[in-house]
Amino acid sequence: MRNIHGALLLLILCAFGAQAEVSEVYDFDTRAEEQRYQNLIAELRCPKCQNQNIADSNAPISKDMRDQVYRLMKNGATNDEIVGDLVGRFGEFVQYKPPVDKRTILLWAFPAIAVVVGVAIVAGVAIRSRKREKEESALSPEELARVKKMLADKDQQA
């Protein structure tokens, strides 16, 4: 029992330790500013630990980037300027959302292209099969007469 208590205590302490490591103290004048800062660091990507944003990452480089975001914000930079500054240093990689330009147009347009092509294929198949139905299902007068006769025969037998 005592062991369990000890383990629990250790677990709680570890959790606090991990939290203390990430939280830096930044002062913001307004709640909106703080929210803006949080949004910015959530959409910037850490170049070292590639699948984390700089808000979640503990890498020293992420801390440097958060400091820079804060510093630029304090200097009155706009969001675009802040993102542009970090892209200028670390490349497009740090943006989770790549800008729409000549190199990325295919990436952005691909979902729309896929939908259009898919709809075209489905429509083509449907139209063609409907046409075929019309052409092939129609029975000639002789065939119709035969069908009627066969059905009539069956009725008599029953």
Partner: protein, 178 residues
């Protein structure tokens, strides 16, 4: 025509296969530097060997040079150091060191044990120049041409293979241009 259409899925599968196979073996952790084709950012930092002397971007002008980002705490820097020694001694390459987020004492003990291949060493304890250069993990090695323009960035260890296949051709080209 109908027959040919039946082969469409095969063609698509092969095409996607080739596209995906091209990505295999590429290291996604190696990013292209955003600074290529741009000048080395302006800086004013102490010389590691002489705290009273300030170095600036002019140490990277006049001759094609390698700018090697290193620190005592970086394990791969220990691995690549013998190759830097070889490049500087045998190949006569000018190497400028950027001591990144390190301390003077530990940096000196590192150089004392492994030797000093650097013509100049910039002391950047806060990593400010490193940040401006987009350094995200030491060791990194930049090729800087005689006009102080960044031509290439290699992330990771420099060894004989990297030198022969990557850095040497870039340096030759940089020398040809200037």
């Amino acid at each position: 025509m109908k027959r040919l259409l039946l082969f469409l899925p095969l063609v698509i599968a092969v095409g996607v296969g080739i596209f995906l196979a091209a990505g295999i073996g590429k290291d996604p952790t190696k990013l292209e530097s955003a600074r290529i084709g741009k000048p080395v950012p302006a800086f004013s930092l102490e010389n590691l060997n002489d705290p009273t002397q300030l170095l600036d971007e002019s140490v990277l002008k006049g001759e094609v040079a390698l700018l090697n980002v290193w620190a005592e705490w970086c394990p791969s820097c220990w691995d690549e150091h013998e190759y830097l020694m070889w490049l500087s001694k045998e190949k006569g390459v000018r190497i400028v060191g950027l001591n990144y987020k390190d301390q003077r004492e530990t940096a000196f003990s590192f150089l004392g044990r492994l030797g000093n291949p650097y013509d100049e060493i910039i002391f950047d304890p806060k990593g400010s120049l490193g940040f401006d250069l987009g350094v995200y993990g030491a060791p990194e090695t930049f090729v800087i041409d005689a006009n102080g323009i960044v031509q290439y960035r290699h992330v990771g260890v420099v060894n004989k293979q990297v030198w022969e296949e990557v850095l040497q051709p870039v340096i030759q080209k940089a020398k040809g241009n200037s």
